[in-house]
């Protein structure tokens, strides 16, 4: 009966006219952002965050959620037509999607990507409805030591799963924690590391930081390069509906991708990106003729795209039930909820059921909207790709500038954003990823609070983290992931990074 009442509430909130419109707007803007190379979901959510300030918390998160999985959908379009991923999680789709387009099969590639994403998204939504309430119940049993363990595990996973140097990713996670300490200490009320600067007495805000690190820095990187001629694939996009054979070939990958993607999305550090890579590797491994992968095999599109979207859905569960965002996009979404006065956690389900179930209901509605948007509007998205960059980038700058200013109606936030933009540019040039930094920044206050509470409970003894089984388990797993690259190096093997080679 609970399940039925939950579904009823979910669709009751999601189908309210204003929420329906905002979901549509989020999906449309998300697809738009996903289509444009260079501007990922994290930057897009940061840019559009200020628009949601006037909305209710559930409407804001519905719109931003639509943006998130809309970006996942949109990223596949440029992967297939341009061989340029519009979104990091769509990198894998380039391998076979573009090859299909070269063979004159761009339509079926786009079609199966859209249908696969819809099926996986629907599966993910149903799984959230089933798993979220019991998981929230488990999370209620967590105390401060368990949260320390879980957050530590999350940060470890993000660094372990980074595509570049793990040491550098770990350094960025630590830097994110350090930045989170700047401001006023919540326990003593004392200023820390502010250097007497009034602007940062309350600490840094996530909006200017994220906009700077993802939006401004990305534009600066693109500006520093010459505008290469982008050959937009000039194919007549007929036959967007896959054939019977396409469906027969794709049904297995879609099913496997949906399940795999969803559960990978639950893992801190997971989400769509790792799910799409793992799905591709798995499909290639189990295929009878793996040599066809990379030459235009539809399974190389169906599996990863399904896993990508299912992972994006699964990633919502830890954020909504435990207050632990799995990736940087959800960290920013969580920051958005906190701006609206809602702190996600185990009690969200009980204290804010409209927000929780409204978001879940809008996922289903959003997935349907995206299926309807992506296929008929493909022509429009292709035309968008032809907009010259000299027109596009000032718009991105403008959105960032307005967004940073409106956080506190303070021009100093604009300067902070620009400084983080410069930092982001330099970081990327030196091979440091901003994602672990932002995730750690969001989790930093929670981590410190839980850590200090744990030591208060134990009268200063750190053994509390080892004497509590759940906390100890999380810390043990984290330790294994932290030292395994070193151990593998000693044994002469590589850390299984995000590589597409066998």
């Amino acid at each position: 009966m609970d399940f039925v009442s939950h579904i009823s509430l979910a669709f009751q909130v999601a189908l309210e006219p204003v929420n329906l419109f905002l979901c549509f707007l989020g999906c449309l803007l998300g697809t738009f952002v996903g289509v444009l190379p260079g501007l990922g979901a994290a930057a897009a959510i940061s840019l559009l965050l200020p628009i949601t300030f006037k909305l209710s918390p559930e409407s804001a998160i519905i719109m931003l959620g639509g943006l998130y999985y809309g970006a996942m959908y949109g990223g596949s379009t440029t992967s297939i037509l341009l061989n340029v991923p519009g979104e990091a999680a769509s990198v894998v789709t380039c391998l076979d999607g573009y090859r299909m387009a070269l063979k004159g099969r761009a339509g079926p590639a786009l079609g199966i990507a859209a249908f696969g994403s819809f099926i996986a998204g629907t599966f993910g939504t149903i799984m959230i409805m089933l798993l979220a309430p019991p998981l929230a119940g488990v999370a209620l049993k967590f105390g401060p030591p368990e949260f320390v363990g879980l957050i530590f595990l999350g940060l470890t996973m993000v660094t372990y799963l980074s595509s570049g140097s793990m040491a550098k990713a770990l350094m960025m996670a630590i830097v994110g924690l350090l930045i989170s300490y700047i401001g006023t200490d919540i326990v003593t009320g004392r200023e820390r590391f502010t250097l007497g600067i009034d602007t940062i007495t309350g600490g840094f805000d996530i909006v200017p930081m994220a906009m700077g690190l993802f939006g401004i820095s990305e534009v600066l990187l693109n500006l520093s390069l010459s505008e290469a001629d982008r050959e937009v694939f000039q194919t007549k996009l007929r036959d967007l509906l896959p054939s019977k054979q396409d469906w027969k070939d794709s049904s297995g990958p879609i099913a496997r991708g949906s399940i795999l993607g969803f559960f990978l999305g639950l893992i801190p550090g997971g989400g769509g990106l790792i799910a799409s890579f793992v799905s591709y590797a798995m499909e290639k491994r189990i295929a009878k003729h793996p040599e066809t992968f990379g030459t235009g095999d539809i399974r190389g599109v169906a599996g990863p795209e399904s896993a990508n979207n299912a992972g994006a859905m699964g990633a919502f569960i830890p954020m909504l039930t435990m207050g632990i965002p799995c990736n940087v996009v959800l960290a920013i979404l969580m920051g958005a909820l906190m701006i609206h006065g809602v702190t996600p956690g185990p009690r969200t389900l009980v204290e804010h059921p409209r927000i929780f179930w409204g978001v879940v209901g809008s996922m289903y509605v959003g997935n349907l909207m995206l299926l309807l948007l992506n296929l008929p509007l493909i022509g429009l998205w292709v035309r968008l790709l032809k907009v010259p960059y000299f027109i596009l980038f000032p718009f991105i700058f403008l959105f960032c500038l307005i967004g940073a200013y409106t956080v506190g109606n303070n021009v100093n936030d604009v300067y902070i954003m620009i400084l983080f933009g410069i930092l982001g540019y330099v970081m990327k040039k030196y091979g440091y990823e901003p994602a672990p930094l932002v995730l750690a920044f969001i989790l930093g206050p929670m981590f410190e609070n839980a850590f200090r509470q744990s030591l208060i409970i134990s009268d200063g003894s750190t053994l509390i983290f080892l004497s509590r089984p759940i906390a100890a388990t999380f810390l043990l797993i984290s330790f294994i992931f932290l030292v395994s690259p070193l151990a593998l190096r000693v044994l002469g093997k590589q850390r299984p990074g995000l590589t597409l080679k066998d």
Binding site: L178, F397, G431, L455
Partner: protein, 152 residues
């Protein structure tokens, strides 16, 4: 990447050192429980330690050509400088000239970062952007943006 890893790891070690010092100053323990400086101290130490994993390989590595330059094209530095000046100028100008005028000027001049462009298109885009964004943010979304010279 050798030189960049060397320089960056030393910089991050220095940052870690600053937080270690700051943490000690704030106080590690307060009446038997962790004080405001405890985690900054630990995190600073962790940053210094992990930086060694970048520093040591960089020191031992043979000199290799960087895969991409810091300013990869001849005019990269000029374009980036122009873009940054435009961004800072927006912040300064908005307070005095107001949002509408500042946005028009910003959208008029910034595209020229990428080289000379047709005045007609740029002027039209700048005008439309300023007006439409004003309508969207100020009128529709009631966002408080500075009024400046034009008083709206």
């Amino acid at each position: 990447m050798k030189n960049r890893d060397l320089v960056s790891s030393i910089i991050w070690m220095a940052v870690g050192g600053l937080f270690v010092a700051g943490g000690l100053q704030q106080g590690l323990m307060l009446r038997g429980v962790p004080g405001p400086g405890f985690l900054p101290f630990l995190s600073g130490l962790a940053l210094i330690f992990v930086s060694l994993f970048v520093l040591i390989p960089a020191v031992c590595q043979k000199e290799k050509a960087e895969s991409t330059g810091f300013f990869p094209e001849r005019d990269s530095f000029r374009k980036l400088l122009f873009a940054l000046v435009a961004l800072f100028a927006f912040g300064v100008a908005m307070r005095h000239l107001g949002y509408l005028l500042t946005t028009f000027l910003f959208m008029f001049f910034t595209p020229r970062v990428m080289g000379p462009k047709g005045w007609g298109t740029i002027t039209l885009v700048a005008l439309l952007t300023a007006v439409l964004s004003y309508l969207l943010f100020v009128v529709l979304l009631e966002v408080q943006l500075p009024k400046g010279l034009l008083e709206f």
